[in-house]
C-alpha cells in the first residue's frame, strides 16, 4: 500500500475515533450534569420541606401557647370576675345580671377559641369532629349557615396529617367569613380508596375573574407567561382544559397577587403531598379542593 494512502487511512481512523470519544464524553458529561442537577433539586426540596415543617411546628407551638394563655390566664380572670359578680350584694341589679351573662358568654367563647387553637384538641377529637365543631361555632354566630357532608368510609388519618388538614380548612373558613360575603358554607369529605377529597365551598362573591386557580405539580411545568405587574403565571392546563392562574416560587412573595393565607394553605398541602385547587368565578362563589393521598397505614 502506498504510504500516502496509509497516512490518509490513519487520519480517517483517527478522526473517527476522536468523534466517537467526543460523543461518549459529551453523553457522560451530560449524564453527570443531570445527576448533579437532580441532587441539587432534591437537596433544595428537602431543605424547603424541613423549613416548612419547622415553620409549621413553630406556628403550632405559638398557637398552643396562646391557647393555654387564654384558657389558664384570661379564662381564670374572667371566671373569677363571674364569681365576684355572682356573690355581689347587688345581685338584684339588672346590669349586674347582664354583666354576669356577658362574662359567661366571653368565657365560653374563649374556651371554644382556645380549643380550636390547640393542636391537642384536634388530636383528641379527630379531623372530622374538629371541623364539625368549627362549623358549629360559625353557625352559632348566626351570620352564616354551615353544612357538613361526608361521603365514603371515614378514614383515621395520621395525626400530623389531620392537624395540617384542619389548619387548611380553618384558613378556608376564615377566608369565607372575612372576604367571601357568603351566606352558606359547605364542607365536604369524600373518602376514596387512595384519596381524600376535602372541599370547602361558599356561595360568596368569588375573588378572581378567572374560571379557577390551581396549584399543582402539573401546572408548575406548564408554559409561563408574564402578565401585568402582578407577574401571575397563566398557563394552559391540559388536565382542566381551562385558563389557570398558578402560584409558583417566583411570585411567592407577592401578597398582592395571592394572600398570605392561600400561600400557607398551599405550603401546608405541599407538606402532605396533596394538591390544592381553588375554583372561583366572580359572583359565583369559591371552592377550595384539597386532594390528599391516603396511605396504606392509615385505618379506613
Amino acid at each position: 500500500m502506498d504510504s500516502k494512502v496509509a497516512i490518509v487511512i490513519g487520519a480517517v481512523i483517527f478522526a473517527s475515533l476522536v468523534i466517537f470519544f467526543i460523543l461518549i464524553f459529551l453523553i457522560q458529561f451530560q449524564k453527570k450534569a443531570l445527576n448533579y442537577k437532580i441532587e441539587k433539586q432534591l437537596l433544595q426540596s428537602q431543605f424547603s420541606q424541613t423549613l416548612l415543617q419547622t415553620q409549621l411546628e413553630i406556628q403550632e407551638q405559638t398557637l398552643k401557647t396562646i391557647s393555654q394563655e387564654i384558657h389558664d390566664n384570661i379564662g381564670q380572670v374572667l371566671s373569677l370576675a363571674k364569681l365576684y359578680l355572682a356573690t355581689s350584694a347587688s345581685l338584684e341589679d339588672e346590669k349586674v345580671k347582664e354583666s354576669q351573662l356577658l362574662v359567661g358568654k366571653a368565657i365560653q367563647d374563649l374556651r371554644d377559641l382556645s380549643r380550636t387553637l390547640n393542636a391537642d384538641f384536634v388530636e383528641e377529637m379527630g379531623l372530622l369532629r374538629s371541623v364539625e365543631y368549627d362549623l358549629e361555632m360559625i353557625n352559632k354566630t348566626g351570620l352564616l349557615k354551615t353544612s357538613l357532608f361526608v361521603n365514603g368510609h371515614v378514614c383515621k388519618l395520621e395525626q400530623k396529617k389531620e392537624l395540617i388538614l384542619f389548619r387548611i380548612v380553618q384558613e378556608s373558613l376564615h377566608n369565607c367569613i372575612k372576604h367571601a360575603n357568603a351566606s352558606l358554607i359547605s364542607v365536604k369529605f369524600k373518602y376514596e380508596k387512595e384519596w381524600l377529597l376535602l372541599s370547602v365551598i361558599d356561595d360568596g362573591i368569588g375573588f378572581v375573574d378567572k374560571e379557577f386557580m390551581a396549584f399543582d405539580d402539573e401546572s408548575l411545568n406548564a408554559e409561563k407567561l408574564k402578565v401585568n405587574d402582578l407577574s401571575l403565571n397563566i398557563a394552559k392546563s391540559k388536565k382542566y382544559n381551562s385558563d389557570v392562574i398558578k402560584l409558583d416560587e417566583k411570585n411567592k412573595n407577592s401578597p398582592a397577587a395571592f394572600g398570605l393565607g392561600i400561600r400557607n394553605m398551599n405550603n401546608r398541602a405541599k407538606l402532605l403531598g396533596a394538591t390544592l385547587e381553588i375554583k372561583t368565578k366572580k359572583d359565583s362563589g369559591t371552592e377550595v379542593i384539597i386532594r390528599v393521598p391516603i396511605t396504606k397505614e392509615e385505618i379506613c
Binding site: 502506498d2 490518509v8 480517517v12 478522526a15 453523553i27 451530560q30
Partner: protein
C-alpha cells in the same frame, strides 16, 4: 465476496435503510416528520448517484461528475435541515450564507479547479467542513436543552451523530482523493471502501433518527 459487498455498500445500505424507513413510517401511520423526509431524500440521493457511479465504473466510463452532483445535493439537503433545525434567526442566516458561499465556491471550483471529470476534492471537502461545523453547533444546542434520558430517543441527536461519523471520518478521504488518485492510483480504491463503511454507519445512525420518537419542540 466481502470485497465485492464493500464496494457496493454505498448502494446496498442506503437502499435497505430507505426501505426500512418507509416500512417503519408506513406502519406507524403518523405524519412523517420533516427531518425523516430529509434523511429519506439523502438515502435516495446516495442510492441513485452511487448506482450511476458504479454502473459507469463497470462500463469503464468516467463517473466523477456524479460526485460533483453528490456533493452539491448533499450540501443543499443538510443546509435545508439545519435551516429548520436552528430556531435562532442568526443561525438561520448563517446557514443560508454558508450555502451561498459553498455554491459560489462550487461553481468556481467546477470551472477553474476540478472540472466535471476530476474528483471534486476541494468543493466536497469545503462543503463537508460546513456540514461538520453546523452539526457540532446543533449538538451544542441539543446538549444545552435536552436531558440525557431524552437524548438517546431524540431525532436531532442521531442526525448530528450520523453526520459527524460519516462526514467527519470521510473528510480526509474527500480532501485527498483527487490528489491520491493521481499519485497512488493502484491503492486509492481502499479509501473508497473505507468511505463506504462510514457511509453505511452514517445511514444506520440516520435510520435510528427516523425511528426515534422525540424531537425538540419549537
Amino acid at each position: 465476496m466481502l470485497n465485492r459487498i464493500i464496494i457496493y455498500l454505498d448502494i446496498i445500505v442506503p437502499l435497505i435503510c430507505s426501505l426500512l424507513a418507509i416500512i417503519f413510517l408506513k406502519n406507524r401511520r403518523v405524519k412523517i416528520h420533516f427531518y425523516s423526509l430529509t434523511l429519506l431524500l439523502f438515502y435516495i440521493l446516495q442510492f441513485t448517484l452511487n448506482s450511476i457511479a458504479n454502473i459507469l465504473q463497470e462500463l469503464e466510463t468516467n463517473n466523477l461528475w456524479t460526485y460533483h452532483l453528490n456533493s452539491l445535493f448533499t450540501q443543499i439537503i443538510f443546509s435545508v435541515y439545519f435551516f429548520f433545525f436552528f430556531k435562532n434567526k442568526l443561525n438561520k442566516i448563517f446557514v443560508v450564507l454558508s450555502l451561498c458561499v459553498y455554491l459560489g465556491f462550487f461553481i468556481y471550483s467546477f470551472h477553474f479547479l476540478q472540472k466535471a471529470f476530476t474528483f471534486n476534492s476541494f468543493s466536497y471537502a469545503f462543503g463537508v467542513l460546513w456540514i461538520i461545523f453546523f452539526s457540532l453547533r446543533s449538538l451544542q444546542n441539543i446538549f444545552k436543552n435536552i436531558e440525557v434520558e431524552d437524548l438517546l430517543n431524540l431525532k436531532e441527536f442521531w442526525i448530528a451523530t450520523g453526520i459527524l461519523f460519516y462526514f467527519g471520518s470521510s473528510f480526509f478521504i474527500f480532501l485527498s482523493y483527487s490528489y491520491l488518485s493521481k499519485q497512488a492510483y493502484n491503492s486509492v480504491g481502499i479509501l473508497w471502501k473505507i468511505h463506504n463503511v462510514f457511509l453505511s454507519i452514517g445511514c444506520i445512525l440516520f435510520l435510528k433518527s427516523i425511528i426515534s420518537k422525540k424531537w425538540i419542540q419549537k
